[in-house]
């Protein structure tokens, strides 16, 4: 093992290695094949040449047909990786995700299952505006039968993608446009990060920040700043957003006695609300302060001028931690 990989390379390698190991793994989505340049974000670059056009299928702009085909192929025992170019476009294929991918195992009494991955990209901060930027993980977290995964770094992206492909249930794999260029030490071939297991990205004793994806980087920066003020922050990177690793989250908060949830998605009804509720239910008597939540503004994502006002800022996060730490009962 030597050198580094980008998050893009991590995803590409995970898919490549999975396709080499298992003939039933295949990709489908808009622009994903070699003729189209290997995808808008190049995740499937170089794979058509190796695996052919049946296994890297460039599709028409037909999200319902794309996800539906992934569901059907998965029912037949294949492991499709479908791509919805940008997360907001799930609005046109929700039925296939929510009524079919998520429910067919249960409704069939376990006779069938849907081992598919739905890859999708999103993210605030690059000026894509109101219909190309939303983090919509909470929509899916509300549906039984779906796993939702996102990576905060390149090595995890590789390991989580491989585990998602090998998972026997449908996985929504969320990528963040801004994170594609992040680099990690190369974790090597066949790297896997188990689904459902959070990582303690930074250990601390005063307050836990529970987050995932792009905002893990923000949390790390804020933790450094607060360290100078004498506040010791622990960071929990969920990696699997749903169903999330309650054990690790609760253990961290039991230790620190304080928690701040952080996500780029809008704050109301977000995953932070669910975790906050759970922490209060389980640890009320041990908490030194009420759980604080930080999230995006409750408005559509604006165009460039207002984007940084919309996005949860590092100063907001730092303030939330200070509020928790300075809480007087």
């Amino acid at each position: 093992m030597s050198g580094t990989i980008t998050l893009t390379q991590g995803l590409n390698q995970a898919i490549d290695e999975a396709m080499a190991a298992d003939d039933t793994v295949f990709c489908l989505g808009e622009d994903v094949a070699a003729k189209q340049g290997g995808g808008v974000f190049k995740i499937t670059s170089g794979l058509t040449e190796k695996y052919g056009e049946n296994r890297i299928r460039a599709t028409p702009i037909s999200e319902t047909a794309i996800v539906g085909a992934a569901v059907g192929a998965a029912l037949a025992g294949h492991r499709p990786i479908c791509e919805i170019m940008l997360m907001n476009f799930v609005g046109v294929c929700m039925d296939q995700i929510v009524n079919h991918a998520a429910k067919l195992r249960f409704m069939s009494g376990g006779q069938t299952n849907v081992p598919m991955v739905l890859r999708t990209t999103t993210g605030v901060g690059v000026g894509f505006g109101g219909q190309h930027s939303d983090m919509l993980e909470a929509w899916f977290a509300h549906v039984a039968g779906l796993k939702i995964v996102t990576a905060s770094n390149a090595a995890d992206a590789k390991g989580l993608m491989r585990s998602a492909i090998e998972c026997n249930d449908p996985v929504i794999f969320i990528e963040n446009v801004i994170s594609y260029g992040l680099t990690s030490d190369d974790p090597g071939k066949d790297h896997r990060v188990p689904l459902g297991k959070a990582a303690i990205t930074r250990e601390g004793t005063d307050c836990s920040i529970i987050t995932y994806g792009r905002t893990v980087m923000d949390a790390l920066e804020v933790a450094e700043t607060l360290e100078e003020e004498g506040i010791s922050v622990e960071i929990v990177d969920l990696r699997t957003i749903a169903p999330y690793d309650e054990e690790t989250v609760l253990a961290s908060v039991r230790k620190t006695g304080r928690a701040v949830t952080l996500h780029e998605a809008v704050k109301p009804y977000g995953t932070g609300a669910e975790m906050s509720a759970k922490i209060h239910e389980e640890l009320f008597n041990e908490l030194k302060a009420p759980v604080q939540r930080v999230g995006g503004s409750f408005s559509p994502v604006p165009f460039v001028a207002l984007e940084q006002d919309w996005i949860p800022s590092k100063s907001e996060l730092a303030d939330a931690v200070r509020t928790a730490v300075n809480w007087k009962k």
């Binding site: 319902t64 085909a69 037949a76 009494g109 069938t112 249930d169």
Partner: protein, 326 residues
Amino acid sequence: MTDQAIDRDKLLDIYTRTTKVNRTDERFRELLMQGKIAVMYYCVRGQEVVSASAMAALNDDDYVVCTYRGQGEQTAKGVPMEAYWAECLGKATGTCKGKGGTMHITHPETGVMVTTGVVGSGLPIANGLAMASQNSGDGKVTIVTFGDGAANIGGFHEAMNMAQLYKLPIVFVCINNRYGEHTAYADHTDSVNIASRAEGYGMRSAHVDGTYVEQVYPAIQEAVDRARAGDGPTLVEAMCYRMQGHFFGSDFSYMPPEHIEEMNAEDCMPKLRNYMLEAQFTEAELDAIIADVDGQLDVAVQAALDAPFPDASELRKDVFEEEIAA
């Protein structure tokens, strides 16, 4: 199409399948009427020959995707009667352990992969099954059935285009019963028929009278054979009638008297019976098939009535591969 288009063995096979569908429908309505069972049931009276012919055109391990009104495809494809009835009554011994119900019968062993309750959602999924067959070269064909109303949902358009683009081994069977819930065809669609839409996708199509076995079976069999040979998909539109309300017990006073008169005159069951007699099958032979099916139904229904309901712990199972902790 000539009478010779269907050989005697196949004809007998279709008759047997049709009888299963028809007697199952009759039994369902009888039990519901008597109040012995109380579940949602979408009657298939008037469509039996289409479903039976379509399933008779498939191999045992070929795939089927159907709808809430899928009893015909399910029983004709061979879902075991006991497991079928148990599922319909929500019992633990059902195909889906009683967790799917009448609208979600699944039985992969007989190729019944999905029964969807969402109009038009089966088509994109059926493409995926066909795509898996195309990728692996397993030689299977997928049939997806759907109604006339379903031809107006976006997924129909997306799925038709995609299937033709990739030349998938699939047959789209539109069971045009001339109504979508309470809305007559002419009030939801101005296309002369659904089959004509295939041309816009570059797809082959057939438009047949589904009340005549000699029309519908050869059309679907040809489409299946072409799909299996790698010659791509076909849209087959089979005209028929929904001779009951949208679901059991629902009102159908909105059907004009002329329509009701027409559908009674065009009933596929007496037409099939006559066709069989013309093909030199005897009344006694045919009655024996009916009696045999009725006997199987007696056993299956009783077993389903006697079977236990699923345990509440089932709520935590099959959500994911791993059971959810209590």
